[in-house]
């Protein structure tokens, strides 16, 4: 590695990142991602506004809202928002370029293909983190805001901040993990929806899989890190197979290593990728 080469790589990655932001994410074309992230925030905001109307009292407790957010996060954020959002963002990074017949412009720059992969991944990840982690935090902070002082107490002197931190960490890890998976799918498969569908089914069947198979999924580790457990409702609860949750010190590095491995494989494969825009 020559001196100055690292700085060159940094400039090139930054150029890819900024171009992606300008082309896709800061444009009208990315509107649906914002809707996906904003949806739960709008709902919790409405909940707060409705609850703030003068009335005799609330028909629920602070603890109820905590459980509801746990359900919202695990069943909607993880399985829908982050999953489909990352699928849309990351699988489009390469496959979209091939569809629009513009990938060859990137391949004709004096940039290592590995750096191109990293640059595109970082572009997608930065948007996903801002949107989905931000949305998670905003939804958490507004959901029980109508409880006033009780909520502030819960947040600053109770488990609130730690729960918020856990949810934000899980959302971020979800973006990292699913991002790496879908970036790879977008590069390897003409139709990345098929592997995405397989991953979707596999992830949703996770509670019902044997303990060993459970560990071969992103969502198992993410759920281990969630602060509040959400039980599977009946009648499906009888089919759930319990497994020991993975400790945080293992789950977090494990997911990061998994993402790194997938990225490294994608980057190495990008060197062999040819331009072929045929159907």
């Amino acid at each position: 590695m020559q001196p100055g080469e690292v700085q060159l790589w940094g400039r090139q990655i930054a150029a890819v990142l900024r171009l992606e932001m300008k082309k896709t994410f800061l444009s009208k074309r990315g509107w649906w991602i914002y809707c996906l992230a904003a949806g739960p925030v709008v709902v919790t905001l409405l909940h707060w506004l409705v609850m703030m109307r003068p009335r005799s009292g609330f028909n629920h407790h602070l603890g109820d809202d905590s459980i509801i957010f746990a359900g919202l996060f695990q069943l909607f954020y993880l399985r829908a928002t982050i999953f489909f959002g990352c699928m849309g963002i990351f699988s489009n990074l390469f496959r979209g370029e091939m569809l629009e017949k513009t990938l060859h412009y990137y391949f004709l720059t004096p940039m290592r293909r590995e750096l191109l992969v990293i640059g595109k991944y970082l572009a997608g990840l930065s948007v996903a983190l801002v949107l989905f982690v931000g949305s998670t935090a905003a939804a958490f902070l507004t959901l029980a805001r109508h409880f006033g002082a009780a909520w502030s107490d819960y947040l600053y002197h109770g488990p609130g901040m730690s729960q918020l931190g856990s949810y934000m960490l899980v959302a971020a890890l979800g973006c990292v993990g699913y991002g790496a998976v879908f970036l790879m799918c977008g590069l390897f498969f003409r139709n990345p929806m098929i592997p995405a569908a397989v991953v979707f089914v596999w992830e949703n069947l996770n509670p019902f899989l044997p303990a060993l198979l459970k560990k071969i999924s992103v969502i198992f580790y993410l759920r281990s890190l969630c602060p509040v457990e959400v039980p599977v409702p009946p009648p499906f609860s009888v089919m759930v197979i319990d497994a020991d949750p993975t400790p945080a010190w293992l789950a977090v590095p494990g997911l990061l290593v998994l993402a790194l491995i997938l990225l490294a494989y994608t980057a190495m494969s990008a060197r062999q990728t040819e331009i072929n825009y045929g159907e």
């Binding site: 090139q12 300008k22 082309k23 629009e100 513009t102 004096p110 060197r271 072929n276």
Partner: protein, 314 residues
């Protein structure tokens, strides 16, 4: 020496069972080289191979001593204007060139300077602020060309670069190619417009059905096509008399006198002998010759002889 050449050594490329190019051995020197051939002959495949967008099934390619497997070195010296009529959506003409220049690792100021220079070179400065999606075909072609030349490459590869250009733009673009060729750069152009290829090319590579049929300077290629008699047009005061003398020679095949009775189009299998004989006739008879010129010493004729009107190899 080899670092000024583009070389193909035994290169083949198959798309499954479909042949792209087969057993190509070429060296391309600096100057303007035209790739000529019917549709599906392998021109784009050759260009994609030398720019690293696809890899050969077998063989070795070197562009100025650099293998296409190292795009981080190759793309510094190569600029490619591909055939795809597509540009990244959501970008203006300026942004399209600027941001891909930034991927070269250049500073913002340098990229800005080069972008503006490239846009000016193709007369697209006024429209640079508009989205590329709003451009006409000719404008898109020009901005693609600007993107290919912005980083000042040593090798410029252009796949049908004159498509969609109006006559003024064509003339300007051809002037650009000439300038670059005269500067000692490699300009590799594929085109179907044979008279333009004739005008600008230093050498030509004829392709047909994945094979290189001929390569070299146009005159040299024509000389090698010995199966086809040379056509020569002579303007003189006594074409009939000249024709009568010429028909005494075995190498004469055909002679046609033009309508105005001042021109003679002849076909001969031995041009050198004809020229010697012509000198003799002039000295003996005092024939007044206005002009002598080969009539089929051009790409169009060579194309017809070697590749044929049906697109196959003759």
């Amino acid at each position: 020496m080899t670092e000024t050449l583009i070389s193909f050594a035994n290169v083949s490329r198959f798309y499954g069972e479909v042949l792209g190019i087969n057993n190509v051995n070429l060296t391309i020197p600096p100057g303007i080289t035209s790739l000529v051939g019917p549709n599906g002959s392998g021109k784009t495949t050759l260009m994609n191979l030398m720019t690293g967008l696809i890899r050969p099934t077998q063989g070795e390619i070197k562009v100025l001593g650099i293998a296409p497997e190292h795009p981080e070195q190759l793309c510094k010296v190569v600029g490619y204007c591909a055939q795809f009529d597509s540009c990244p959506k959501g970008l203006t003409g300026y942004q399209f060139i600027y941001w891909f220049l930034r991927m070269h690792g250049l500073t913002a100021a340098e990229c800005d300077r080069k972008t503006n220079a490239a846009l000016e070179r193709v007369s697209m400065t006024a429209a640079a602020g508009r989205p590329v999606g709003a451009y006409s075909k000719g404008m898109r072609q020009r901005v693609k060309l600007a993107q290919a030349i912005a980083h000042d490459p040593q090798v410029l590869v252009l796949d049908e670069p004159l498509n969609g250009l109006d006559p003024m733009a064509r003339a300007e673009t051809i002037a650009l190619f000439r300038e670059w060729g005269q500067n000692g750069r490699h300009v590799i152009v594929s085109s179907h417009i044979l008279h333009e290829v004739d005008q600008i090319s230093d050498q030509v590579i004829l392709l047909s059905q994945g094979y290189v049929v001929a390569e070299g300077e146009i005159k040299g290629v024509r000389d090698e096509v010995k199966e086809q008699p040379m056509q020569i047009l002579v303007r003189c005061n006594d074409p009939g008399g000249l024709a009568a003398r010429l028909f005494q020679q075995d190498h004469m095949v055909e002679a046609k006198i033009s309508r105005d009775r001042k021109g003679l189009l002849l076909r001969t299998t031995d041009a050198d002998s004809f020229y010697l004989l012509l000198n003799k006739v002039i000295l003996e008879t005092g024939l007044e010759v206005e002009s002598i010129a080969p009539a089929d010493d051009d790409v169009n004729s060579v194309y017809q002889y070697l590749i044929g009107g049906e697109g196959g190899t003759v």
